[in-house]
Symmetry: C2
């Protein structure tokens, strides 16, 4: 165990859970950061809390922000979440309506504020440019530009004491590879939550973009999804 703190953005989904496990495997003291941003589904934050506890976060902060005042996404207002029969239908659909304007920019900005306060030089984010659902702020060129900006924004950057790095360990992995890596690192995917449109009991819909990508990933990894095993007894 080293003494290096890191901020890990933790949504409660399987990507951020695996990302947190990677940070822990690299001996970072993890400060997990989640957001209450007008999601319709508090179940996401419950999953984040469970994952932070199970993987040994030193601290878990849920920051309140209100992106609803601006509107603009199926995840934060009343637009319908799209459903599909097959994962292939997601290809070439462009940027989906579930995109939240500037969400990763806002999330990373808060992470930067906390990193600077802690003296941390690492921020981990579980974005992925392979099975990335078409979001602009999940691309490597976005992350590189954020890192450049961040090092000009802070006291430590200006004084040359520190160089902040944005770590995106899943960036070039397929969903199957992410699940295998998380599995190796002991992530309990039964604690995670992925669905954009869960049933009243919190169970996954199995037909939103996120459920379809998750199912594809478990199939590729050759592993059962404990979430489905648990809820269905399969």
């Amino acid at each position: 165990m080293t003494d290096r703190p890191a901020i890990v953005l933790l949504s409660g989904g399987l990507d951020s859970a695996t990302t947190m496990a990677v940070a822990r495997a690299e001996d970072y003291r993890v400060h997990a950061l989640s957001f209450r941003y007008g999601q319709r589904h508090a179940v996401e934050l419950e999953a984040a809390r469970r994952v932070a506890g199970a993987l040994g976060a030193e601290r878990h902060v849920v920051a309140d922000i209100d992106l609803r005042s601006f509107g603009g996404s199926a995840l934060t207002d009343d637009l319908a979440v799209p459903h599909h029969e097959r994962v292939e239908e997601l290809e070439g659909q462009g940027i989906p309506v579930t995109y939240v304007p500037a969400r990763n920019t806002v999330f990373l900005s808060f992470a930067l504020a906390w990193a600077e306060t802690l003296g941390a030089d690492a921020v981990f984010i579980g974005v992925n440019a392979v099975d990335y659902s078409g979001y602009p702020d999940c691309r490597p060129e976005f992350l590189a530009a954020f890192e450049t900006m961040a090092n000009l924004a802070t006291r430590a950057g200006v004084e040359g004491r520190q160089h902040l790095r944005i770590h995106a360990p899943l960036l070039t992995m397929t969903k199957g590879q992410i699940i295998r890596r998380g599995h190796q690192l002991g992530v309990d995917f039964g604690l995670t939550h992925s669905c954009y449109d869960p049933a009243p009991d919190g169970g996954p819909c199995r037909s939103c973009d996120s459920c379809l990508l998750r199912a594809k990933g478990f199939a590729e990894a050759g592993l059962p999804d404990p979430l489905l095993t648990t809820s269905d007894g399969r």
Copy 2:
């Protein structure tokens, strides 16, 4: 009056009031954005509300964010705000304790989210690199890096439909020049608020960094500060 919307970051201080007046003079429909971020002084938000009304904002949103969870500045926790006798004492003091980690990054990220939702291609911020109190996130290189990042972060940027610009019309002005410009544009500086450590009645302390820079600015501009005229009858 054109149909171009713009986001203007509005703190209620004289810089952001002048910036909003510049945006209005350039015929933007102003969407003013302020933050409730754990300031000790609600008087700031009252000033922002008055300025937004007086200068004709189409809409004024106060977004709730909680930077206090991270700690780290005299403006958001219980550190003492430094006081000085003379403005010359501010020179060479480095980055003051009133610096809020990553504050402008967080503010601009929210502005970006709103801009994308509205289809606006302009964000105005009243930062200043001359009398800038030593904050790293008030420098031109920071703003340029933010603009580059922002255009990689958004749907419009990816689709090539729009290029967002960060406008910082006060960037190279002295405080005196800012006050003269605001005065020309009809800004009522009696509505603004600058003090980091106001008296219980909201009156300025006259010895924090911000009060000293404000006084220097009015002296340079050769104008009386209506805030002092009003409260003192001078």
